[in-house]
């Protein structure tokens, strides 16, 4: 290339960059979390937590609330309240008030999906209190704002196997699949702090009911998502009476609680051929006993066997109760219908006919428990 040609190329490159709209980071308000509340019959109230990288301001994040009828309209309205241009490419958390969620979430989420700028790995959540309250809360020390704090909290709990996955991707995936309903974490406030209060269950995209945080364990157990989890459960008081140690002043009185750690579970769900409502579930749990509230002689093999049997019994009856709860609310977050579909050609489950069939669901549970280790003392 001659110098003349190189010169032309350089000039062309520098000129053509001007054709693309510029975004100066100091002038942007980068939205990281959004909360949607029901404001009126047809209007939404949106709360946006945004970052601004303006060196002249002392507070890096700011919260804006606006009202409109669509979620992009909220951003438009919010633009009138801030000196920064709001952009949605960094939205990591979207919260929906329960009243809004019970009207169906996808009409508000359509824009999340259609807009290619929004990441699929953003987290979703449902809130029992207005989301404005959650997001406007004073941030704790570990995070710069409340949106960031809630996001980190949900993320950590998903990693620790305490909550099922709550990304936009998973929600949309489960929503569109036949024979399974999505779930999302449920948030509330306690003593001025945001906490996870349970799991929101959905019929398609409509929020139906809340699953208590105790029962999330059973949801996860049936979704086969356990690798290194933990759980507490209460057994009948006198279940291990014959193995109590006879030490003076021992805690023979009171309820019997056991705490299980490093839970590893295996799951097989077998639907009956041609009958989606007849299913049998086999669960094998391997765990370490970390805490037991009564002084039990664990050197005795029989005591361990007995303990395993008691836990199996308890887990099985809890699973049955859990299933009843799902049947009452006509939700299938586990995906019994989907598993049936994967194995059967006839009598296929569709989004329409599965909802009616859920109350007729008949599942037989078989639980196997193995206590592999029990800590440093025997």
């Amino acid at each position: 290339m001659t110098w003349k040609q190189i010169f032309i190329v350089v000039v062309l490159i520098s000129i053509s960059t001007g054709c693309i709209p510029k975004s100066y980071i100091e002038r942007l308000g980068i939205i990281t979390a959004i909360g949607y509340d029901l404001a009126g019959e047809n209007s939404l109230r949106g709360t946006m937590v945004m970052y601004q990288f303006d060196p002249s301001t002392t507070r890096p994040s700011q919260v804006v609330t606006s009202e409109a009828t669509t979620s992009k309209g909220l951003r438009l309205e919010a633009n009138k309240m801030t000196s920064h241009r709001l952009v949605s490419g960094q939205v990591r958390l979207k919260l929906f008030q329960d009243q809004l969620a019970s009207r169906g979430m996808t009409k508000y989420m359509d824009t999340l999906e259609r807009d290619a700028k929004v990441s699929d790995m953003g987290l979703l959540g449902v809130s029992e209190v207005p989301t404005a309250d959650l997001l406007k809360m004073e941030a704790s020390k570990e995070a710069t704002n409340s949106g960031e704090y809630i996001k980190k909290m949900i993320e950590k709990n998903i990693e620790d196997n305490v909550l099922p996955d709550a990304t936009l991707r998973t929600f949309i995936h489960d929503y569109y699949d036949a024979g399974i309903d999505p779930t999302l974490p449920m948030l509330t406030t306690t003593d001025g702090k945001a906490v996870i209060s349970g799991q929101a269950l959905f019929q398609n995209d409509k929020y139906v009911t809340k699953l208590s945080s105790q029962d999330i364990f059973y949801l996860l157990l049936l979704k086969n998502e356990y690798k290194d989890g933990q759980f507490q459960l209460q057994l009948p008081d006198e279940a291990l009476k014959e193995f109590h140690k006879e030490t003076p002043g021992s805690s023979a009185e009171g309820p019997l609680h056991v705490s299980l750690h490093e839970i590893d579970s295996d799951l097989t769900i077998d639907p009956k051929k041609g009958k989606p409502t007849e299913q049998s579930v086999n669960v094998t749990i391997e765990a370490r006993l970390l805490e037991i509230t009564k002084d039990v002689d664990l050197k005795n093999k029989k005591a361990i066997y007995k303990l395993e049997k008691e836990i199996e019994k308890k887990v099985k009856s809890d699973l049955e109760q859990f299933l009843e709860f799902l049947k009452e609310n006509q939700v299938d977050p586990i995906g019994f219908g989907k598993i049936y579909n994967a194995k059967n050609r006839e009598n296929r489950v569709t989004k329409e006919n599965w909802r009616q069939q859920i109350p007729e669901l008949n599942v037989s549970f078989d639980v196997k428990m193995k206590l592999l280790r029990h800590g440093t003392v025997e």
């Binding site: 790995m121 569109y176 036949a178 598993i339 194995k343």
Partner: protein
């Protein structure tokens, strides 16, 4: 017009490069949306449809090579004139020219559409098509060897994107594939037919054949290129079916690009932005090779000087790309070129071969 071309040895390339020519031309704008297109027809058994299409591709390539071997050093334009006579042969040549023009247009328009949806909604169409067309002109002015070099270099520069698909694979739901054989034969064939748009490009063999130095070694690189294309389409489709729910996949226009959305690295949070920018490198060999074939056909048919026809074609493409504004029109254009391409690339050679055979035998008997 001479049936056979006389090419100077310094303009020819090794048969080895056919792998890159065929493969880079086949992989292009189509790959971005192919999972959905096949899935709508063939459902969970789409992989069978793709394998069927792949097998048929090899069959067509075999036929094409057989046709070309009947002549010493001819391209399709010359063969058509030899077989059908001057007028009909030239008409068929014009069909090829029209097909190349519209496929170029649809590749450019589809890519600009993606850039506008994913990265820069405000970017003007004239700017993008100006960029792409100036690159096309620049490469074509360099001659055939530069064209081949483009496809070779851009293949090496972009093929690593395939590795990043490992992340979406971890999110796959294998339940979506069972039970297999749910789809009827007709739907399978429809799915295989729909695969056509993303595997168009095989016809380039009809045009570059005279430029190959060692003609006896043509078959292997061509078939390897086809197999690799089939593998890539199979890969993105299978991953998409596992990653998306069936209903969701039916609505996701650029399923392959949506797969990239969840890939993130500490320094690159949204890999899809990078992937779309890199996709330009996937598109360029398409544009350059189709552009070369278009100019070459014009030259062979009407003895048009290469340079001036290149500028005229570029200006026409530029104007056409600005005039089409709506997404529905782009889709329509894609559908038309797709079906024209299907007949021209996948059906026509199979019909042409027996005619060539008959013609040759007929001549032998007349002129001993």
């Amino acid at each position: 017009m001479n049936t056979n071309l006389i090419i100077k040895p310094d303009k020819t390339v090794e048969a080895f490069y056919l792998f890159f020519i065929v493969h880079t031309l086949q992989i292009g704008a189509g790959l971005m949306g192919v999972p959905r297109v096949i899935f709508i027809e063939s459902g969970t058994d789409s992989w069978i449809a793709i394998l069927l299409a792949g097998i048929y591709l090899h069959f067509v390539a075999w036929i094409m090579i057989l046709i070309l071997r009947k002549y010493d050093n001819a391209d399709i334009i010359g063969i058509q004139c030899d077989v059908f006579g001057r007028w009909l042969g030239k008409t068929m040549g014009i069909v090829y020219v029209i097909y190349f023009f519209f496929i170029l247009l649809s590749v450019i328009k589809n890519y600009i559409e993606v850039v506008q949806v994913f990265i820069f909604p405000e970017i003007p169409v004239w700017l993008m098509s100006g960029f792409l067309l100036s690159l096309m002109i620049y490469a074509l002015l360099g001659g055939f060897r530069v064209v081949v070099g483009t496809s070779f270099i851009f293949f090496l520069l972009t093929i690593w994107i395939v590795i990043t698909i490992s992340k979406p694979i971890t999110y796959m739901d294998w339940d979506h594939f069972t039970p297999i054989f749910q789809t009827g034969t007709l739907d399978q064939l429809k799915g295989a037919y729909k695969t056509a748009y993303s595997v168009l490009g095989l016809e380039i063999l009809f045009f570059v054949y005279p430029y190959i130095k060692n003609k006896q070694k043509v078959a292997l690189p061509v078939h390897a290129g086809l197999a690799f294309t089939t593998f890539l389409i199979l890969l993105v489709t299978v991953v998409s079916i596992g990653y998306f729910s069936p209903e969701q996949l039916k609505q996701t226009v650029w399923a392959t690009l949506s797969l990239f959305k969840i890939i993130s690295y500490p320094i690159v949070e949204r890999f899809d932005f990078i992937a779309i920018a890199l996709w330009m490198m996937v598109i360029i060999p398409n544009i350059v090779l189709f552009g070369w074939a278009l100019i070459q056909s014009l030259k062979r048919l009407f003895q048009l000087p290469e340079k001036s026809s290149l500028y005229v074609v570029a200006i026409l493409l530029f104007l056409a790309s600005i005039l089409i504004e709506y997404r529905v029109h782009i889709n329509q254009l894609t559908d038309w070129t797709s079906s024209l391409g299907f007949w021209l690339v996948f059906v026509y050679p199979v019909i042409l071969y027996p005619i060539v055979l008959i013609r040759k035998r007929f001549r032998k008997e007349n002129t001993p």
